[in-house]
Structure formats: C-alpha cells, structure tokens
C-alpha cells in the first residue's frame, strides 16, 4: 500500500493525481479507461474534501492506494475535518431541464457509477472513505 499526505487544498490536486497515477501505471492490467475513471474520481473526491472538510485552515488528507492480485484497486481518502458521509448526498434529479439544473451531487453520482464498492466510516475523529474498483478487462 502506498500513502500520500497533503494539505486539503486544491493546489495539491495535481500532486494527488500524479501519486495515484503512478500506482496505476505499475499495474499492467490497468486500461486507459480505468486511468481516466480514477482520474475523475480523484478530481471529485479530493476536490470535495479541499472545498468542504475544513472551515478555516486546511487540515491533512491522507490518500492511500492499494492493488491486490485479483486486480482490485482500493483508493482511500481520510481527513480530520467535519464528519461527512459522501454517500449521504442527495441523488441529483437527472431528469430536470437545463434551466433548473445544478451540479450539486453530480460528482459523487459519477463516482458511484464507475466504482464497484464504496465504504464510509467515521472513526477516531477521521472521515475514512474507501472506494474499490476492479480494473482491466470489461468489468463494470
């Protein structure tokens, strides 16, 4: 397992993307589509933490990536900010016309669509959000 610790600030977005991408590149099973989907997931989840987890000064975020022999990648974001379950956000109404649309909740909705498993817990003052995806081949 590899870990990266950064401040919850959007200025570290590329650092986080590069860190996750490096782990993916070590896995020959990982397709370009997997890379793009995980890139989107990092953009959504790290962005949310940077925007909302801490009120005043940004605190830490730890990003952990792990891949197993069965071709499952596990991506965990943990922070010490306000307790927040990303899966509790209201599902967006995807049937509204453009004039009534907002983007709230769309990011996590897209994340749910590309990851196979999501798990949130609040433990010892930390939000721990783990997402798993089966990479390679034509798995969902």
């Amino acid at each position: 397992m590899k870990e990266l610790r950064v401040e919850a600030d959007r200025k570290y977005m590329q650092t986080v993307q590069d860190f996750v991408n490096e782990v993916l590149e070590e896995n020959p099973e990982c397709s370009r589509k997997d890379v793009l989907e995980i890139h989107m997931v990092v953009d959504e989840i790290f962005g949310n933490i940077a925007d909302y987890a801490y009120d005043d000064k940004p605190g830490p975020v730890i990003i952990a990536v792990d891949t197993d022999e069965e071709g499952v990648i596990a991506l965990t974001f943990s922070d010490e900010g306000k307790p927040y379950d990303p899966m509790s956000s209201k599902e967006p109404d995807v049937t509204l016309p453009a004039s009534k649309r907002s983007i709230g909740g769309l990011g996590i909705f897209m994340v749910k669509n590309v990851m196979n498993e999501l798990d949130y817990e609040y433990r010892n003052g930390r939000n721990i959000f783990t997402m798993k995806k089966r990479i390679g081949g034509n798995h969902a």
Binding site: D43, A98, G107
Partner: protein, 100 residues
C-alpha cells in the same frame, strides 16, 4: 491538459476541446465562455478529441447551455466520444443538450 480552439464568426462560436476537462482545466474553458457567451447566439461544441470529463466539466457545459437558453440562442454538441456519451446518458445531460 486541455487544449481549446475557438472560431468566432459574427454571433456564432465554435469551440473544440482536446484532452481532459476537469476541475484543473475548466477555469480555462470558463474564461473562454465568459469572454464570448455575451456576444453570441450560437455555440457549437466539438468534443471529438475530448478524452474525459468530470462534474466540473459538466458544470461549464451546463453554464453555456443555460446562457443560450436564456437568450433564445442555440447550442449544439457534436462528435461526442462513446465514453463521454455514457456520462451524458447517466447524468441526464443527453436529454438537455442538443447532441448531433
């Protein structure tokens, strides 16, 4: 990485996107939209070379669509790659955009 090509002719603008449209690159597109949406009545997006997008990208596209609807203009989205079409479908964007 996102490359943007624009072609402004009178009250119409064609915008071609190449690369990734995410939270890091969408400020670049937002700047183009801010500069031009007030001047035009027609927007044509060409997504042939757009590799992927995140909700930040959807936000920019929605902003352009809303701006055109507000002034009875037209927005068209062309050459949508398969993986991006899948995102438009799942998020309901394929119903609210005029896709050719």
């Amino acid at each position: 990485m996102l490359n943007i090509k624009t072609d402004l002719k009178g009250e119409a603008i064609a915008i071609s996107l190449e690369g990734l449209l995410d939270s890091q690159t969408n400020p670049k597109l937002n700047a183009v939209l801010e500069e031009n949406l007030g001047k035009v009545r027609e927007v044509v997006f060409d997504l042939a070379n757009l590799e992927y997008l995140t909700s930040a990208g959807l936000r920019s596209i929605l902003k352009a669509q809303q701006a055109m609807e507000k002034k009875n203009g037209v927005m068209t989205v062309r050459n949508v790659p398969k993986d991006i079409m899948a995102i438009f479908d799942s998020t309901g964007f394929s119903a609210l955009l005029n896709i050719e």
